[in-house]
């Protein structure tokens, strides 16, 4: 697809981006509104952020969410990377079709189904619901996303480097850690971040699999939001948006730097 963009193309992009960003911008701006009435602008203020710091339940929920996301994203990244290796490198093993179905289905299946089925499993197995059941549920939900990201990278790189290492006598495990892993590292990191934000984000599956004493941030926000729009909620949402935006931008800058460094010693690689 070459040829320059037409005015229609530029207008599409402008409108599309406006549609995507305007609601978020409005939410952020109104979090700094001095008035309790969310619709009346009464000047700039940070009072809702100060009130948020007093909200013990909200802070606790945020802490729970953070721990769940860190743990589940890490386990999901290990399992998801292994799954990507199985799909791309292992050829046709028995049960590969079922395996791929189990990898791809959680990506698109409605969350109510996944949530309900996991809960019924925990009940049937008499596992006490709470922090750990959410971690298991989120790991199951997010590992497929890691697989898809890592698999794309595995398909994209030159296999002969791995083969060269093996020919020189490196055992497969060492080849993986010395050659394969460094090459797929950006994708593994991206997969981890995706899993992390998906876990932070999830309301439905966490609601099904949670138990007493384990309230995540989305569950907490949802219970408030059902009652209507509140400035404190705008404030916590703004903080979450800021955290995600800073992380994503920093990550993409880091990967740019890394790529620039990696490209230097080996001209023409990649």
């Amino acid at each position: 697809m070459r040829k320059g963009p037409s005015w229609f193309n530029i207008a599409s992009i402008g409108l599309g981006l406006a549609f995507l960003y305007l609601p978020i911008a409005i939410l952020v701006i109104y979090s700094f509104n001095a008035s309790r009435l969310v619709t009346v602008w009464a000047g700039w203020s940070t009072r809702w952020y100060a009130e948020l710091l007093q909200d013990q339940a909200m802070l606790e929920a945020a802490w729970t969410s953070l721990r769940v996301a860190l743990l589940s994203a890490t386990v999901a990244t290990v399992l998801g990377t292994l799954a990507a290796l199985s799909l791309v490198r292992m050829g046709r093993f028995r049960g590969r079709l079922l395996f791929s179905a189990m990898i791809y289905a959680p990506l698109i299946l409605p969350e109510v189904i996944t949530g309900l089925s996991l809960l019924l499993l925990f009940v049937a197995a008499a596992i006490d619901r709470g922090f750990w059941t959410i971690v298991i549920a989120h790991t199951t939900l997010t590992m497929g996303f890691v697989t898809v990201v890592v698999q794309a990278r595995l398909l994209g790189f030159d296999r002969s480097i791995e083969e060269a290492a093996m020919d020189l006598g490196a055992p497969p495990v060492k080849t993986f850690f010395a050659v394969t892993l460094p090459m797929i590292a950006p994708a593994v990191a991206a997969g981890w971040m995706l899993a992390f934000t998906l876990s932070l984000d999830d309301l439905v599956i966490a609601s099904f699999t949670t138990g007493p004493g384990a309230t995540t941030l989305p569950i907490r926000i949802y219970s408030e939001v059902r009652l209507g729009v509140k400035p404190e909620i705008n404030a916590i949402c703004t903080i979450m948006i800021a955290v995600v935006a800073v992380t994503v931008v920093a990550a993409s800058l880091l990967s740019k730097l890394r790529e620039a460094k990696m490209a230097m010693p080996v001209p023409g690689a990649g």
Binding site: M1, P23, P110
Partner: protein, 303 residues
């Protein structure tokens, strides 16, 4: 020695994720199926029968004879459930169409931008997807509420005389869905358009084909895989959507995801909730398998 060790670690690479998914993704479905055939009970767990392994063969036999399709009969006989399934499928179909109409021009425009701008623009399209789904729906509650900015703007421009009720309507559901799922439609279409060979369009032009005709005869057919992937990626989860209709929609008519949620959390009727899930899954199994096949084919082609 080296050969056997290799096969051992290789096997572990497959077995670990396989076992996890079998235990936490596949096994739960069998349990859902079983409970959907059970009766509601005032017990813990709140359903009957429960497999009694101590009773041995007789226990298993009792267990199987106690299963009944009553919950499914209820789903068919009560128009509430049928209506919700139908409503969910309709909303999902219409909003997928709207997403296609909104998403294709955006994807097309992205693919025609100068190469060096494309990565930045793609990141800009994806970025909202990284922020919480719940936050994005909540953002629209801000705008659509009675005293919200949309009504204020429309009043200011004298387009309406008095504030309209945007929230708790199907319009709000459609806005929320199109907003939340737009990146899922744009990215697969962009991926196919971006790979499209420009010389094909030049060839069409050389042979006297007008650009508009070339668009319909060359560009659209070649982007069909992306369109299909985007449509499935949107349609399947939208059918079971819960958060968007719950926060933006009205309470007279429910989507099936809300029905499942209510049966489970409010009515505490686990067997009916399970039956609702099984029927929903059987409605979606064909699109899910098509999606999986497309993913696998893409995997083989890239290899």
């Amino acid at each position: 020695m080296s050969e056997s060790r290799r096969s051992w670690t290789a096997r572990l690479v497959v077995i670990l994720p396989y076992a996890w998914l079998a235990a936490f993704f596949l096994a739960p479905f069998l349990i859902v199926l079983k409970i959907s055939l059970s009766q509601t009970a005032l017990a813990q767990p709140p359903y009957l029968p429960v497999v009694d392994l101590a009773a041995g063969w007789q226990g298993l036999k009792d267990f199987f004879t106690a299963l009944s399709p009553d919950n499914y009969r209820l789903l068919i006989s009560d128009s509430l459930y049928l209506g919700s399934y139908l409503r969910s499928l309709t909303i999902a179909a219409f909003s997928t169409l709207m997403l296609l109409i909104a998403g294709f021009p955006l994807a097309y425009a992205l693919a025609r931008m100068p190469r060096r701008w494309q990565p930045v623009l793609v990141v800009l399209v994806i970025l909202p997807f990284w922020t919480s789904f719940l936050i994005r729906v909540y953002a629209w509650m801000n705008i659509l509420q009675r005293e919200g900015l949309l009504n204020q703007a429309l009043l200011a421009f004298c387009i309406i005389d008095e504030p309209l009720a945007w929230l708790a309507s199907d319009t709000a559901i459609y806005i929320g869905i199109v907003y939340s799922y737009l990146p899922f439609m744009v990215l697969p279409i962009y991926a196919t358009l971006e790979k499209l060979d420009g010389s094909l369009l030049e060839a069409a032009a050389d042979l006297g084909c007008r650009p508009r005709k070339a668009f319909w005869l060359v560009t659209v057919p070649l982007s069909l895989p992306g369109i299909a992937a985007g449509a499935l990626l949107c349609f399947i989860p939208i059918v079971g959507e819960f958060v968007i209709p719950d926060l933006l929609g009205g309470s007279e008519q429910l989507m099936i995801g809300q029905v499942l949620w209510t049966e489970f959390f409010s009515n505490r009727d686990w067997p009916v909730a399970s039956a609702v899930a099984v029927v929903l899954l059987s409605l979606l199994i064909v699109p899910v398998v098509i999606y999986q096949q497309m993913q696998l084919r893409a995997l083989e082609e890239d290899r």
